[in-house]
């Protein structure tokens, strides 16, 4: 019986090779060529102080955003996991609802708040303070990242906490552990898979975003995503653009490898 039906998946298998695997290969080949012949120029160009600074800035902002999401998100996940019944599912729904709203619009929504004549500055003026430049700063970009991606940190942690066997906590208490010890030695280590998947779900889109810097950061080449966008859409230097993309993929890949190593190590200990 088995072999009669699996043929229905083969057309899709072929399709994935053409439209998922092949494009990645094309980028890779593009990144190593110039005018149709082998060249390292794209990479050479990238490793100059000008562009390296952008890479470092992207990493810095993405790491900061990830850290904030984790520090704020973990306690919230913990609090929600202790809720019960309809209230819990309502809270979860409220947490997920913004994820269904257009990313662009959610980001744009901050402009009337942060702008020079925006809500925040009007408020500052009202209480007699000087205006502050909120929009078009790194802080605004960071805010945009946290705002857009914090549900991606909370939800995986919450789902791990929910699946955790409550008897484990009772057992730990039974064995004489106080609340602090139970949290540090039982709850936290067990929720690590959720933390790890949360970190990757926040870090990845943060480090690769180009919309947030354009809308809230004022459109300078602030992040690596902007570089890529510009090379592909404005300059038309696909080779250089591909080189930057390969570097971006390497950054993401190494982040995922580091995370999975951490995960495995912890699991090995247990």
């Amino acid at each position: 019986m088995k072999n009669r039906f699996n043929r229905y998946a083969w057309p899709y298998a072929l399709w994935t090779v053409v439209i998922i695997v092949l494009p990645l290969v094309v980028i890779f080949v593009f990144s190593f060529s110039k005018n149709g012949s082998f060249s390292l120029e794209g990479y050479g160009l990238f490793f100059t102080p000008l562009y390296l600074k952008v890479l470092l800035k992207s990493l810095e902002l993405a790491l900061k955003a990830t850290a904030i999401c984790l520090i704020v998100g973990y306690p919230i996940a913990l609090l929600i996991s202790r809720e019960e019944g309809t209230r819990k599912s309502t809270l979860m729904l409220l947490l997920m609802l913004p994820m269904w709203i257009n990313f662009l619009l959610k980001t744009y929504a901050w402009r009337p708040i942060l702008g020079n004549t925006g809500l925040l500055n009007s408020f500052l003026e009202m209480i007699g303070l000087d205006k502050v430049q909120f929009l078009y700063t790194e802080g605004a970009v960071l805010l945009g990242m946290v705002y857009n991606f914090i549900p991606f940190m909370i939800l995986p942690i919450l789902s791990v906490l929910d699946k955790m066997d409550h008897k484990l906590i009772e057992a730990a208490h039974d064995l004489g552990a106080d609340d602090r010890t139970v949290f540090l030695k039982v709850v936290l280590p067990l929720s690590l898979p959720g933390i790890i998947s949360g970190i990757s779900l926040v870090f990845m889109p943060s480090v690769s975003t180009f919309i947030i810097p354009i809308i809230l950061g004022g459109g300078q080449d602030m992040m690596i995503g902007n570089l890529i966008e510009r090379q592909f859409l404005k300059v038309g230097n696909w080779n250089f653009g591909s080189s930057i993309s390969v570097i971006l993929m390497l950054v993401i890949l190494s982040a995922m490898i580091i995370l999975s190593l951490f995960d495995r190590e912890k699991r090995g200990e247990r």
């Binding site: 019986m1 088995k2 072999n3 039906f5 699996n6 043929r7 229905y8 998946a9 083969w10 057309p11 899709y12 298998a13 399709w15 090779v17 439209i19 998922i20 092949l22 990645l24 704020v72 919230i76 209230r87 599912s89 809270l91 979860m92 729904l93 409220l94 997920m96 913004p98 269904w100 709203i101 257009n102 662009l104 619009l105 959610k106 929504a109 402009r111 009337p112 702008g115 004549t117 925006g118 809500l119 500055n121 009007s122 705002y147 914090i150 991606f152 939800l155 995986p156 789902s159 998947s197 889109p205 690769s208 354009i214 809308i215 995503g225 890529i228 966008e229 696909w238 993309s245 971006l248």
Partner: protein, 268 residues
Amino acid sequence: MKKRKLPHWLILLLLIFLYMPILVLITYSFNEGRTGAEWTGFTFKWYAELFRDRNILKAMGYTILIAFIASTVSTVVGTISAWGIKYMGRRTSGILLSINDLPLLNPDLVTAISLMSLYIFLKMTFGFMTLLLSHIMFSIPYVIITVLPVLRRISRHQMEAALDLGAKPVVGLFKIILPQLKQSIISGWLIAFTMSVDDFVISFFTTGSGVSNISIAVFSMARRGINPKINALSSLMFAVVIALLLIINKNRKTRKEDLAIEENILLH
């Protein structure tokens, strides 16, 4: 444990943080003044202007058209492929599903430029077709990960029982297997549709002159500065999302199941 009336202040703070910008936007969409925080009077004029803007109307049309074709094609292809994957060996299906996961795991930007490079490589003209192809490309994986788990739960004895009772394989498929998949196929279609409507990055890189969707239209307005028409558009889209979610919720048996499916998709 004592039962508090309100959730913890930290949760409330987060909810305010999450919803305030959206609420501000909705409020401003009814504000007379063009810019600034000042409330200068209630109006519907931005909505009226929105529906007079030809570019936006055209973009809406493309958005719906692309989303409809892409989600329908993806649902058909994805369901048939999931059926095949169910009967594949563990290793082959493992490899195929990993590739299938790539567009879900890769940042949109990487998927977008990789598709763009492919179209350049194949010397295709950027426009409606490239846009549609891209949307089909990223929609099928969502359909597969929605349909496949349900399909795998259907015992192979179901098909065998149908054959045993005298049904030809085609009859078994339409009378026994597909009806049991109905819910997940509808979910898959809805998810593909939402993803397509919502997409900006991939569309932005793979479309050509004259063809844009809502997100692209919003982006080109937004990068120019504040425009109250965007506020009106956002409010409308927000209303549509909530309406859709309510409809989906009503159609599902329990909210818990619903949340589980959404969670599965979003966190995949």
